[in-house]
């Protein structure tokens, strides 16, 4: 977990350092995203506990863009007293047990079906794909100049039985409240 925060702070430092470091390496971007992925859990609360597992599972659905970076980010970390672990899944029906599901770009084609499949599992969905929050996702990474930022859709979160803390919404680039098709 110390590594996670260190990475996050490192990112902050780069931000402070200014615009000269505009082109960040891909690995750096994903290490930041990995850290954020873990931290999202700290700002989200479930109205009901979907499972009583003693681990806090962060799942990657589809093609994994993080690789070892995510494992490094969760190493030793805990959320709500639970040990954070990473699980890689290939389809939405494997989601039960997960708290946070990163939906890989590879799932974009059948996103609506995937999200519907994740619905009963009450997971926090995060993705890099554009329009993710507009299409029923909860948190979507956004590239803002040289920094990693995100959008939030609170309606999707409510439907999944979880809520984001105001702190999280404060730093979000955009907070939406839309249901696709509604």
């Amino acid at each position: 977990m110390a590594a996670v925060t260190r990475v996050a702070a490192l990112a902050g430092m780069f931000v402070l350092a200014g615009a000269s470091l505009s082109a960040q390496p891909k690995t750096s971007e994903y290490s930041v995203k990995a850290a954020y992925l873990v931290n999202f859990g700290r700002f989200a609360q479930w109205t009901s506990t979907p499972n009583a597992d003693d681990t806090y599972q962060i799942c990657v659905l589809g093609r994994d863009p993080f690789g070892a970076l995510l494992d490094k980010a969760v190493a030793g970390g805990t959320i709500d007293g639970r040990k954070v672990v990473v699980r890689r899944i290939t389809q939405a029906k494997d989601a039960p047990g997960c708290r946070i599901v990163y939906v890989s770009d590879s799932e974009e084609a059948q996103l609506a079906r995937t999200l519907a499949g994740l619905g009963p599992s009450h997971v926090l969905t995060v993705s890099d794909m554009p329009e993710f929050t507009r299409r029923g996702g909860m948190i979507q990474f956004v590239a803002d100049a040289d920094r990693v930022r995100f959008e939030v859709n609170t309606a999707s979160a409510e439907d999944a039985g979880l809520s984001f803390s105001a702190e999280l919404l404060k730093v979000a680039v955009a907070v939406r409240r839309i249901r696709p098709g509604a």
Partner: protein, 492 residues
């Protein structure tokens, strides 16, 4: 003097009261202020700590998701506190993440460290300018996203201190005025009786009236004791004063009585001697007259023996006449009035010398007359005195083949003029000095040196009547020196 006394004792009491109350108040205020400032300072620290924790809680997401702008928005809410110099957020690695700096007239005043040491302790410290720094780690769900660092100046403390000082000054001034007024009233019970007694004793000392008594003053048992002791002393002094005055009066009376007695006796004596001398002259004239008649009538027929007897009788009666004349002159000298005038002593001495030399022709006398001053005296009387002294000198140096007489003045005394007459005659024995100036007192027999023994007595009388004195020095066969001193008149 009484005013000064009142002021001094009254002022002392007032000043004492004001000092005591002022010092007590000042001490109380100082300790109260010190206590208040200490607790106020810990209040400031507490507030800073609470604020840092609020800021920390509100900055967790900004730190976690790397959003300095959001953090700065949070920090900028602190500008509501004018005493907050700066606020800063540091990331988990200790690097400056976001900052707020109070803007002042001089621009941005706070200089913030770019990095801090990371640890989990909440710290507070004094900064130099002066101020308080609180550093508090932000803890969030087992993570530590960063550290808040708040820095406050002591403006609030200073404002509070200034307010306190103002209050203390007002309270102190009010208390001093109150103390002044109260002690003005209170001092009357102490100072007023004291001043009254002081005035009374001063009056006693000035008027020397010991019959008065100090009035009872209302000032407590000490004053009663003081008054009573003072009055006892006055009684004692009065008693002694009365007896002293009585004995002095008695003494004076006795002296006056004695003086009157002596004066009358002296007058009687002088009248007696004058009348005796005067009455003796008539029979004496008869004696000498009839002796010369007898000599003319039967002189040639008398034998040599009888003629010698007659001559002796004539000489004796002549001498007696001389004695009587001298006595009368002496008596007159005592009674005649003094008429002082300025006299050139040198001239007077020359006159006297001429007169004396006229009586004693054929003598070989060397006169040494030194310069002599002017004096104020009765001329006829002083002349008589000088003639007496010179004739004495001539007389008692008659046994010398070469007589030497020296006359001069001694020294330059401003109070008196001293003149001396020295001869190289037979001198005298100093043990008979006391007889030298007495009436009819003679150290030599008439056969040796004729004279009535009244000359020096006259000299002394004359000089004494001028307020001066006479004395002499001598040795048998070595000559004698006679001195007289006359007081100098300031008018000359």
């Amino acid at each position: 003097m009484p005013l000064r006394a009142r002021r001094s004792i009254g002022r002392k009491l007032t000043v004492m009261n004001m000092l005591v109350s002022g010092a007590a108040l000042l001490l109380a205020c100082a300790s109260f202020i010190a206590y208040d400032l200490i607790s106020f300072r810990s209040l400031i620290v507490n507030n800073l700590t609470i604020r840092s924790s609020v800021i920390g809680a509100n900055s967790v997401s900004a730190l976690t998701f790397d959003d300095p702008a959001a953090a700065e928005t949070t920090l900028s809410t602190l500008q509501a506190d004018p005493n907050l110099v700066s606020a800063a957020l540091y990331g988990a690695d200790g690097r400056l993440f976001a900052a707020y700096r109070r803007a002042s007239g001089l621009g941005v005043e706070a200089r913030l460290p770019e990095t801090i040491a990371v640890d989990d302790e909440t710290r507070q410290s004094w900064s130099n300018d002066p101020g308080i720094i609180v550093m508090r780690p932000i803890l969030f769900q087992g993570t530590r996203p960063g550290t808040v660092r708040l820095r406050s100046d002591l403006g609030a403390l200073r404002d509070r201190l200034m307010r306190f000082v103002l209050i203390v000054v007002i309270v102190l001034a009010g208390s001093l005025v109150a103390a002044f007024l109260i002690s003005r009233v209170a001092q009357r019970s102490i100072a007023a009786p004291m001043v009254e007694l002081a005035k009374f004793s001063e009056q006693v000392a000035r008027d020397r009236d010991y019959s008065v008594r100090a009035p009872a003053v209302d000032g407590g048992p000490e004053f009663e004791m003081f008054t009573s002791a003072f009055n006892d002393m006055l009684t004692e002094i009065e008693y002694r004063d009365v007896s002293l005055r009585a004995s002095r009066d008695e003494l004076e009376e006795r002296v006056q009585q004695r003086t009157a007695e002596l004066t009358s006796v002296n007058q009687e004596l002088e009248a007696f001697s004058y009348s005796v001398s005067h009455d003796l002259r008539a029979p004496l004239r008869h004696v000498s007259g009839f002796v010369s008649l007898l000599n003319a009538h039967a002189g040639p027929s008398l034998d040599a023996q009888s003629q010698r007897y007659l001559t002796t009788i004539a000489q004796a009666s002549a001498r007696m006449g001389q004695l009587i004349d001298d006595l009368l002159a002496f008596s007159r000298m005592s009674r005649s009035t003094l008429t002082k005038q300025s006299i050139d002593l040198g001239v007077l001495v020359r006159e006297a010398q001429a007169e004396v030399m006229g009586h004693t022709p054929g003598r070989d006398i060397e006169w040494k007359i030194h310069p002599l001053p002017e004096i104020a005296a009765d001329r006829p009387m002083l002349r008589l005195a000088v003639v007496n002294l010179l004739s004495n000198a001539v007389k008692y140096s008659s046994t010398r083949s070469h007589a030497c007489i020296e006359i001069g003045a001694i020294g330059d005394d401003r109070l008196e003029t001293v003149m001396f007459v020295a001869d190289n005659g037979v001198g005298f024995d100093m043990q008979y000095l006391h007889k030298l100036f007495g009436v009819f007192q003679r150290l030599h027999r008439v056969e040796e040196f004729d004279g009535t023994g009244i000359g020096l007595a006259n000299v002394r009388r004359i000089i004494q009547r001028h307020g001066g004195r006479v004395w002499a020095e001598g040795e048998v066969d070595k000559g004698a020196t006679f001195y007289f001193a006359l007081p100098r008149e300031r008018t000359l």
